[in-house]
């Protein structure tokens, strides 16, 4: 493990928050895309 | 154009037109601030320019949705859109009517509320001058916001969300003029910027607002 010195908490918090926001955005994007694709496919199959 | 202006003024001053509500709101806000901050003169005087400007801005915001909403409901907006008068001109006239009915009373009342908030007397002329130069752009930008949200059922909250960020430059320079006036510093630079913003807004925003109206009337 690398030594982060006295600012370890700051750096880890910044990376944690930043990556969590990015992950949330990616997850929301992929989930919405999957939902839209599923809805459209269902509709085209039934219709 | 003058007929349209006279009509809007008549509608606003009639019973139920909401005339004077803005000033009453401004009064209540100025009366509430000392309750929040404390009656201390030394605490009130430095924040007075900012409070007065924010109060004017919010009072102006209150009546924005009336600019087009009523005309949209009874269909006279469609008539305006097909009238020989360009829609840009109609928008400018309606913004002017809004300014006369809400901006002008605010400017006249502002020194009184300045006294309530312990604004230094040296700042009074600069407060009035900055409001005189700044509030027309508030009405104009408000007309743009109202034009965008005119067809929406719950447009009021959205309107403030869209319009308030647009008010930031005017607020910065307007409050800066008053603050510098209160401290006896030179006010030319922010005053010139304030006037420049208002002129640019008056020249360009009618086109954007008219475009938004045409889209909403389609």
């Amino acid at each position: 493990m690398i030594d982060l010195g006295k600012y370890a908490a700051t750096v880890l918090l910044a990376y944690g928050v930043g990556l969590a926001l990015l992950a949330g955005l990616v997850w929301q994007t992929v989930a919405a895309n999957a939902r839209a694709r599923r809805n459209l496919q269902e509709h085209e199959k039934n219709g | 154009m003058i007929a349209l202006l006279a009509r809007d003024l008549r509608l606003a001053t009639r019973a139920g037109g909401g005339f004077g509500l803005g000033v009453a709101f401004f009064l209540i806000l100025s009366a509430l601030v000392p309750f929040g901050i404390g009656p201390d003169r030394a605490a009130l005087a430095p924040v007075a320019p900012g409070i007065l400007w924010i109060g004017a801005l919010l009072a102006c915001l209150l009546s924005l949705d009336r600019i087009f909403a009523l005309d949209h409901e009874d269909g006279s907006l469609d008539l305006l859109a097909t009238a020989p008068l360009p829609l840009e001109g109609a928008v400018a006239v309606k913004a002017l009517a809004h300014w006369i009915t809400t901006g002008l009373p605010l400017i006249l009342a502002a020194p009184i509320f300045g006294v309530l908030l312990q604004l230094p007397p040296a700042a009074m002329p600069w407060l009035v001058l900055s409001l005189l130069l700044g509030t027309p752009s508030l009405s104009m930008l408000g007309a743009f916001g109202a034009a965008i949200t005119v067809g929406l059922r719950r447009g009021g909250l959205l309107l403030s969300l869209l319009v308030l960020p647009l008010y930031i430059p005017t607020l910065i320079f307007g409050a800066e003029v008053t603050r510098r006036g209160a401290e006896g510093m030179a006010v030319q630079t922010p005053l010139v910027f304030l006037a420049g913003i208002t002129l640019a807004v008056a020249a360009l925003i009618p086109f954007a607002a008219a475009a938004a109206l045409r889209i909403n009337l389609r």
Partner: protein, 241 residues
């Protein structure tokens, strides 16, 4: 070969279908390597290990501004050429831009706490980003408030145009209003002010990674919007039938 043929949503779907896997993989690779490499850089002699935050902070801030510019261009293309995919791309980009602004603001606040001794300061750069975030929020709110898709595209396009002017105006007004703590450009080309190559190279890589990530997300979100629009059109047709 002209970009105008991508106005056809079917053509757009086919092309992006082939393009997306490459984009996703390269975005993931660049982001991962850039951030891990950045995380492993040595400590700065003044800022200690906090200098590592730059690899998230600067790319996010750069994308926050560039995404707004992209939305402006896409809105203009929609208004001038009635290019439907372009309007949907502008709509798809806005939430990404808002999140990027949020990342830049929060990582900046966390960084500012030990360096400046405060989470927040009304510094011109910080304030401008807050204002930019407000513009993103207003833009997204307007999209979700209007039912008719074409009117929504038109009105948000007009708002984007006016908002761009005022975002720029606010930037200079804020500069006049308060002098700041924030340093100037991080990637200045003037010699002597340049960052050491130790930090510069991973930073370039994570900037590239963020750009690729944005493009990948943008394409996916635009595809989502196209599918939603198609579903709505199909349902509307059946309602009439």
């Amino acid at each position: 070969m002209s970009i105008w043929k991508y106005a056809n949503p079917a053509k757009f779907m086919r092309t992006t279908d082939r393009l997306l896997p490459w984009l996703v993989v390269s975005a993931a690779v660049c982001c991962t390597i850039g951030l891990v490499w950045g995380f492993l850089t040595p400590q700065d002699f003044r800022q200690g290990s906090t200098v590592k935050i730059v690899f998230l902070h600067v790319p996010a801030a750069m994308m926050a501004i560039n995404i707004w510019v992209m939305m402006l261009v896409a809105s203009l293309i929609w208004i001038i050429r009635r290019h439907h995919v372009s309007a949907l791309a502008a709509k798809a980009a806005a939430p990404i831009g808002a999140v990027m602004t949020l990342i830049a603001l929060t990582t900046g606040a966390i960084w500012g706490q030990p360096m400046w001794g405060t989470w927040w300061e009304w510094d011109p750069r910080l304030t401008s980003f807050l204002i930019l975030f407000l513009f993103y929020v207003g833009y997204i709110a307007l999209w979700s408030a209007i039912e008719d898709p074409d009117s929504a595209a038109d009105l948000t396009g007009v708002l984007c145009l006016v908002g761009s002017v005022f975002a720029l105006l606010s930037r200079y007004a804020v500069l006049f209003w308060n002098q700041g703590l924030h340093q100037g450009a991080s990637l200045s080309v003037a010699p002597g002010e340049r960052m050491s190559a130790v930090y510069r190279h991973p930073l370039y890589l994570s900037m590239l990674g963020f750009l690729l990530l944005f493009l990948a997300l943008l394409l996916i979100r635009t595809r989502t919007e196209i599918r939603k629009r198609r579903l709505a059109a199909l349902q509307a047709r059946e309602m009439r039938a």
